[in-house]
């Protein structure tokens, strides 16, 4: 039975893969990333076109749900991974990614303009954004002006947040509160708790509830209003600006041990930090480009909240404390 299946399953698999993937003999670069990157409205198709024209090779994207799933996928595959490049981890995941031993130092890349000048020998940033409380101007006339306002404000103005155990923005808010309140974070969460309408497993569910009108506030990004302005032509959804500053999320890419054998991988990282890639980012990924673009950004981006201060823990701090901090959060929120 087992013998039979172990033969049948790969055979079926091969049959399917022949049907689904175009065969190509030319040089190939495999990039693992998250879904919204490769979606037809995402940066993926344009990036693929530009890079293929430059390298005379073919680019294969493989996408999974999000950054966390991405790291898991690579870990699950281990050293036999097909990925040359893993694109879409954030700095909260890089320490863990490095510890897996599946990534190698990168070659020369262009300088980045990430606030605070983030740099690393293995991972290269391609865009960044700030977490922010996005609110509905039709429902909320006096948005909170600081994290303290939000924590101590009126409990009738509800917010939808994400679970730090299952989602990246959820973890972002946890780190944001930690960086502002430090040891007093549990008390802050206890005060915030009655204002939390619900805690969703991911960003999509939270944003869905928010746009359906279930709550006037949601945890999202400072760039979220840009989408509504550019794509939907509405200024209804705005990000609140907090006095304490906003927490930064940096998205990075790295070369795997598999990619170390493929010269195209280093070329891709160099391309990624250049203008042809960076031009695409703002209005497809709805994040700020980490490198130089050919043209100034859409004016909608100038109207976005400019953080008074950039908050960020180092990857090592996050890796060392994440479990303890999440447990601390859980202790307060699950009572």
């Amino acid at each position: 039975m087992r013998m039979f299946l172990s033969r049948l399953v790969p055979a079926l698999g091969v049959a399917v893969s022949i049907l689904t993937s175009p065969a190509s003999a030319q040089d190939k670069l495999t990039v693992y990333t998250y879904e919204s990157f490769t979606a037809e409205w995402g940066p993926g198709p344009l990036v693929k076109k530009e890079f293929e024209a430059e390298c005379g090779c073919s680019v294969d994207f493989v996408s999974v749900a999000d950054g966390v799933a991405l790291l898991n996928r690579v870990k699950l595959e281990g050293a036999s991974t097909k990925a040359d490049i893993v694109l879409g981890l954030d700095t909260n995941l890089t320490a863990e990614a490095k510890a897996s031993g599946l990534f190698v130092p990168h070659g020369p890349v262009a300088e980045n303009n990430v606030p605070g000048g983030w740099s690393d020998d293995v991972f290269v940033p391609y865009d960044y954004g700030y977490f922010a409380v996005v609110y509905d101007t039709e429902k909320l006339k006096n948005p909170p002006k600081s994290l303290k306002d939000l924590v101590e404000g009126d409990a009738t103005d509800k917010i939808v947040i994400q679970d730090p155990r299952t989602s990246t923005p959820g973890l972002g808010l946890l780190l944001w509160v930690k960086s502002v309140y430090g040891d007093k974070a549990p008390e802050a969460w206890a005060k915030l708790k009655p204002k939390v309408l619900t805690v969703t497993p991911g960003w999509s569910e939270a944003y869905g509830l928010f746009t359906k009108g279930e709550a006037p506030m949601v945890l999202s990004y400072t760039t979220s209003p840009a989408y509504h302005i550019v794509a939907e032509n509405t200024e209804r959804y705005q990000a609140a600006s907090f006095e304490e500053g906003e927490y930064l999320q940096i998205e990075v890419a790295g070369i795997t041990t598999t990619g170390a054998k493929n010269p195209l991988a280093a070329k891709f990282l160099a391309f990624m930090t250049g203008p042809k890639f960076q031009n695409v980012i703002p209005e497809t990924n709805w994040m700020f480009p980490a490198g130089k673009t050919d043209k100034p950004l859409n004016p909608a981006f100038d109207r976005l909240v400019k953080p008074a201060k950039t908050l960020l823990f180092s990857p090592e701090e996050v890796a060392a404390n994440r479990k303890a901090w999440v447990d601390e959060w859980l202790e307060v929120m699950s009572k």
Partner: protein
Amino acid sequence: MRHPRSDPPHKGEGGRRAPTDPRITAGIVALAAIALLIGGAFAGLILEGARDLSGAASAFDPYLLRVVRFTLWQAALSTLLSVVPALFVARALSRHPRFFGRGFILQLFTVPLALPAIVAALGILALYGRAGYFAAIAGQSWPDVYGLSGILIAHVFFNLPLATRLFLEALGTVPADQWRLASQLGMGARAAFRLVEWPVLRAALPGVAGLVFMLCITSFTIVLILGGGPAATTLEVAIYQALRFDFDPARAVTLTLLQIALTFAVVLALMRLGANVTGDANLPVAPRRYLSAGPTETALNAILIMLALLFVAGPMAATVAAGLGADLGRLAGESAVRQATLTSVILGLLAALLSVTLSLSLIMTRRALSLRRRPSARSLLEHATDTGAGFVLVVPPIVIGAGWFLLLRTVSDDFAIAPVMVVTVNAVMAMPFAIRAMRPAYDAASERHERLCAQLGISGWNRLLLVDWPSLRRPLATGFAFAMALSLGDLGVIALFGSDSVQTLPYLLLARMGSYRTADAAGLALLLGAVCLALVVAADWLGRGEKS
């Protein structure tokens, strides 16, 4: 030739004498397939997790105790609230076989299974939420739905229709002669319920309640979204966290085993509620005819059916309304949408076909085994073919997916394996549904035909095609519809194995939601519901066969 029921039972006969009935072989093959699927996943995880067992031990902390308590509590309440009303709704529907729109109601009752949790949650919130329809009428006094109440509403929305249809299948096995007798004896509604309907319902009760309980105990997205915060967390969330964020296979396996053990205890307790019915061994001579219900009862039944329909159709109507707001023309023109629809339909059909085949094998085996034994002694194999298969449901798809990923990564191409895994896992996951839908009819048919077949020496394919097929046709279609709806809505398996070559509708829906395109997502939800309904209607039509 073997005479059913007259065989002298031998202790441990399975060991000494090779099973001659091909039905038993079929069941063993099906069981082996399930065991392989789950065992393989566990093996993959254990091989990987054995390096670091600390996570397994540290899983047991006070928080886990709270999680377990909440998991069991919400699952028990959800089961009670789904199953008890379903008994009466099913009875009402069975009393009025010509009720206007009855067939459509039943088809509609299959659709919730295909809806991804977030779609159902948004549909429910459109009615009961803070910005919902009822809140708009009731104003400030409308209570917040987030918390246990929200979880219960959602679980009843998913499971009441399911339980109703399964009970209805069971009621369909009441022999026509019994109805004639009840009619001749002038039984009223109450007496007929007690003497005719309740015994069949009671026999089906543990199975249906067990199935609903398993679905609720493993509920994940619904609990997180509508639960209002991590105080409402199920074990499934902890398992997911262990694999996704902590990548701790040892811990994930430990928690999964805990989940199986808890479910096992509950299902064992449920078994005590049940009873075995003795079916009618004679061929029915009376035409199929139910007691005619009096005007009061008819009115009550109509109200009951309407209430159930409103409860189930409400969130679906909200989903449809939201979907109509999307640019459906553009969506239908997108090649990604067309491709995803095709992929979904093909994977769903394949999974349903596999699921029904495996389920039928198990049902036949169980029946064959139960005919061979003394009434009191059920063998382990018989138990395994019965409730055992149901435990597949409490193994989270992420565990199966991750385990196989680990196991296969050295052997083959992960991407190529994706469609195979999606079909197989969904087929096995849908088996408990298909089994519940088909077993009452098979057992009843077997009760009638077993001796005839034995006397005439009809067995194997001949028996399946000539004897069993006519009476199995309709329940097979029901089982097929359930299995298909379930695989159509799957997100657990596809999320891990999905790649750009295999994108299903729910997958695409979530991707759209994940990049601000909520209107597109609503349109896709409508499309998914419509595809599911169309397939269910088709399955029903194919299953109708001869007039009864």
